[in-house]
């Protein structure tokens, strides 16, 4: 257990701290079991992973670490955002590329999609998201991302993971999507083409995912580009709720996830941008249609 390991490394900590760590660990185990319906260990045993001699896989994924992260995200998934899931049976076994719309200022949508695949998919899958390389240059953040199995977003890594039959999660809108202002909510921005070339090169089916509920968790009224440029950040959103007491937490919207049917694309992955754009347009339209349908069916934002 990672908590017990932390306790052990503080070699001279008094025994009471160690006992507290043990108690917290057991409580975490129980909470997770009630959320998952079975113990974490037996759930992870169903996930196809190749662990090395030290209990981490070649990319640094450590199931012990993921336990605590999964507990947090699973709690958010079920209790806070009360996520509704549709179509999770559409996800094929073997390698898959999940393509979703991005929203919400912070990537809670990614965490919830990953939690869904671990909690509700059968067989359970462990999602790998592609992280920015600057995240891997930060202390602790880089360690955290690595230990929960997220990898740096370079094509070689993506190809290797797909060859291992894993599930990759991509948000082709990128920062443009996550930092949308409220008036642009649920209108998908432009998609990058990289994921399509990757899918064609590796013969991976694409599962479009529509996320509804993310745009309302942090309401951004404007994006001040001048300040963003000054801070050398991609965006600088103005989020009024942050100034209210307790407003730093995301609003408890009800998240709804739709997993579409797998789409398969063939052809030359090195083709001209124009040819690839047509295929990407198909995926984008599919997701936009799924999002629109979800918005129409939705009666209330928060329940």
């Amino acid at each position: 257990m990672a908590l017990a390991r932390l306790g052990a490394s503080a070699r001279h900590a008094p025994a009471i701290v160690k006992r507290l760590a043990g108690v917290a660990d057991d409580a975490a185990d129980e909470a997770l079991e009630s959320l998952l319906g079975e113990s974490f260990a037996s759930r992870m045993a169903k996930v196809p992973l190749t662990l090395g001699p030290s209990g981490v896989d070649a990319f640094g994924l450590d199931p012990e670490w993921t336990k605590y992260v999964v507990l947090t995200v699973a709690t958010l998934h079920r209790k806070y955002f009360r996520t509704e899931i549709h179509g999770i049976e559409n996800i094929p076994t073997g390698k898959v590329l999940l393509v979703a719309n991005h929203s919400g200022q912070i990537p809670i949508d990614g965490a919830l999609i990953a939690a869904s695949l671990l909690m509700d998919a059968n067989p359970p899958r462990f999602v790998r998201a592609m992280v920015e390389k600057w995240a891997l240059s930060l202390p602790f953040v880089s360690l955290f991302f690595t230990r929960v199995g997220q990898v740096v977003g370079v094509p070689e890594n993506a190809q290797r993971l797909l060859a291992q039959g894993e599930v990759l999660l991509v948000f082709p809108e990128g920062t443009r999507g996550i930092a949308k202002t409220f008036d642009q909510r649920y209108k998908l921005t432009e998609f990058g083409l990289g994921f399509m070339r990757l899918a064609m090169e590796t013969g991976t089916p694409i599962v479009p995912v529509a996320v509804v509920g993310g745009e309302e968790q942090y309401i951004s009224v404007a994006n001040v580009e001048a300040v963003a440029k000054l801070l050398r950040a991609p965006v600088f959103p103005i989020i009024p709720q942050l100034f209210l007491p307790g407003g730093q937490l995301p609003l408890p919207t009800k998240y709804r996830l739709w997993f579409g049917e797998p789409m398969r694309f063939s052809g030359d992955p090195d083709d001209d941008d124009a040819v690839i754009e047509e295929k990407v347009w198909l995926v984008r339209q599919t997701i936009q249609a799924m999002v629109n349908r979800g918005l129409k069916e939705r009666k209330h934002i928060f329940w």
Partner: protein
Amino acid sequence: MTDSGTFRSSPPRARMASVPVLSGTGGVLVTGICGRLGKQLARALHRDRHVVGVDRRPFHDMPKDITHAQVDIRRKKLKDVFRAGDIEAVVHLGVMHDPRASAAEHHSWNVAGFTKLLEYVSQFRIPKLVVLSSANVYGPQPSNPQFLTEEAPLLGGQNFSDIRDLVEVDMLAQSFFWKLPETETVILRPVHILGSVHNAPSNFLRLDPVVTVMGFDPMVQVVHQTDVVHAIELALRPGIRGIFNVAGPEPVPLSRYIKMLGRQKIGVPYSLARLVMRRMWSLRLTTFPAPELDHIRYVCMVDDSRARQVLGFAPKMSLEETVQSVDEGRW
């Protein structure tokens, strides 16, 4: 990059009577033979083949059937060694990694010395050349793929100028590979070599407590000294040419290696570590230059499938044996 070698074939007046044939049993010239890796290689080879050693240092406890020439490879005396004949293969271990030597000395040795060596290899038509490079030429950075293939760009010199010499040696060897197809050039890029050698990774793991950068615990590959010797032996066989990444047992997080050796670990914030390293370096209190901190922050691992498939290489030493070897025979 200085490309001072024009690899001309031997001028008419000095043409050799016969071109050596690559049989796999002829004489081997080993540069840098007096290092721990060199001595181990010499001992592995000398029973089956004639070994000629070249090193500035004297060779103590030398087996009787090895010829040793205490020569600086930049001097003309090296040519006499070649002229003495019977050399079928050259193994270049004599790449200077010692960061304490001045940059000029480094450059002179590695680039000028290696260029001279290549000239003789070309002139005397030596049919086999094995160059020991390093996976460090790829350079540790946060944007690295988890497993680098031999085609990955050599970016080691980006943040660490001292490694540019090593990158240049690797590139000179690559250039030689193409310019002189009659010579089978092999470039080996092993990951961190552990053993009785006194190199940076082995010395790092010998520290107690081991200093790490707080908040980072990258996956690291290591390889045992003996396995590297074995890889060189495989590379010497006729028909083998090209670049090969060489890795040992499966990768493991850095903290795990430290735990296996039973050492204490101290995490230091990066900015502080860099400051302290720079100061200690300028006072010559340490053999670790500050940019090497990147090796304990970011990943620099290799894909060794080409070595396994083409070279037939497989590490014989287990993870425990490889790691424990840094504590054996510390002298």
